[in-house]
Symmetry: C4
Subunit: 190 residues, 4 copies
């Protein structure tokens, strides 16, 4: 089985997830700049989630650029990744609407954790199907970045019940860590 | 006529159908976890329908991986499949909003039945156009799985007027039956 | 310039147009079948527009299957077609919400007319760019079907101020006329 | 890294951005043509933004038709372009809802400016990665059209606090300037 349609379908879902969040930015009734103020926290959380979905699209792109053959298990793991990501508009919106209140940041962190775990699951299943000797398998074998992200997500989610702002900073650090191009893969593949 | 654009268009529609259901998860106004409680039944029905649309995408993928040439009839049968699937967000939402009340489960079961029948129709038309001697035709010739699904859908829909929970369990069994990779096709095609 | 991305972008827009109409089917609050009654006219108009968008996707598919090279004019004419089609969810919804009242059917007819005119414009520009000697140009040269459709749209739109039901029947006849595969093209291309 | 998936993903996002604006056209409750009047300003701003997104899709299409290899920086610059464009439904709607009031036109102009700047950034990064000697690099090297657009956007945004109508006319002139096919590229590439 080739990856063409899996990529096309995933592109579709990710494009929708990344864009429908803007529908949650309800236009205020007044025409003054002050009327935009209540939209601001939602806007900030939109930027945040846009970056996250962008990262996942990027990693997805890198992964299926390297991996060429998949099986039924990978298809379903991919659907699990898409499912977790499809919940981001909801958790983002809840967080934005409640001005980054403790519980809402915790749920958001939990959602990021679920996305991350499902992505790692998909990666492992794909590598296993390829035989573990592929270039991609070697490139991502260390899992250092993944382990660090997971740890920060867990810490951040727990911490959010006390210091939600610190959690957001932690999640933000993970994001930056991933925005910086994945040199492991680029190096190995070149 | 080749299947490239039929697949691209179907991927688009399925990606939207699977994702817009999340728009029905209205963010609660409070920031407590208890405030999320009314969203729970809708969330459960979202998971349910996500799996179903995932199954259809999977089967669609398998089918058009094997079938290479189509005609106008298959195009229209495919649109009928997409139409039936596009109603899932509505029936899912009605069921979730009314806590899986009898009528709503019946309508949901009827919707699943319509999806299933239209998919079988498309499959038959495609096989007929290919001449019935193709590998795919032989792989799915027994129709055992399809017949079993249809029977369960009809039983489940009728039963939902008395025991909606049992119907949901039945629909769930059909889902699992299909999530397990379609070994018939994989075996024959390999 | 090749047509790959024009087709991909159009597939995306058409997939969204055909699917967002289902978002207008607002889930009723009650769980009885009688509660679904107010949704019925909207559902009927949804079916209607689904078929129309399906026809346009079909014709678009046929056309760019035959035409291989385009220029900037064709790109913009294609955007005009997509714009006219993107208004269908609005006019469909207005018609469904007002139980097929005269004005609403007239606007719907006008929308169908605009879609049809813009499609013919795109077709002419594409044929002109190809040199007019292509197989596709010959296949659609008679314009008989197009002329008949346009006439019915104009008559139907005007008539809708007096007999909206008759207009809908006329629009329905045009739809059926196009659902029947475009044998002109299939014959010539085979 | 090839551009196939970047194009597919961008097509998806742009298709959604261009189409969801129609969801903001709320269907009026009455069935008279007069009831459509409040929708008119929103409809006008929809047309406006549809053309703008169309222009960006067109330019995107031209650019990645010429550029074949990208790196991580271009991927992220592309996501920035998509982010700026994804805000258009919001700023368009605010402007339409407030009858083109001063502040709303200013924000709209600022949004157009951001789209333009991010697109130029992406273009520069892509050219830099290609080595600056490519046909595309030469075709767009003058930047005359880009500089003129940016100047008009800045002037228009500032002016909108005094004469919003003039600003809209200016933005409209930029649009027309870009709708006319980019002969620079077509000439050089042919």
């Amino acid at each position: 089985m080739t990856t063409t349609r899996l990529e096309a379908f995933s592109d579709g879902v990710l494009a929708i997830v990344i864009t429908i969040m803007v529908l949650e930015l309800k236009v205020p009734h007044g025409a003054g700049f002050a009327d935009l103020k209540p939209v601001l926290p939602k806007f900030l959380s939109y930027i945040f989630s846009f970056i996250y979905v962008g990262i996942y699209w990027n990693n997805h792109h890198h992964m299926f650029h390297a991996i060429k053959k998949i099986n039924g298990k990978v298809l379903w793991a991919n659907l699990l990744v898409l499912f977790c990501l499809s919940l981001l508009p909801f958790t983002t919106d809840w967080m934005g609407e409640n001005l980054f209140a403790k519980n809402t940041v915790a749920l958001y962190g939990f959602n990021l954790l679920a996305c991350s775990l499902s992505f790692i699951l998909m990666e492992r299943l794909a590598i296993q199907h390829e035989g573990g000797q592929s270039t991609y398998a070697k490139a991502v074998s260390s899992l250092r970045k993944e382990r660090l992200s997971l740890t920060i997500y867990v810490v951040g989610t727990l911490l959010s019940f006390f210091l939600p702002i610190v959690s957001l900073v932690l999640f933000y650090i993970v994001a930056i860590m991933w925005v910086i191009p994945d040199t492991r893969i680029e190096k190995t593949l070149d």
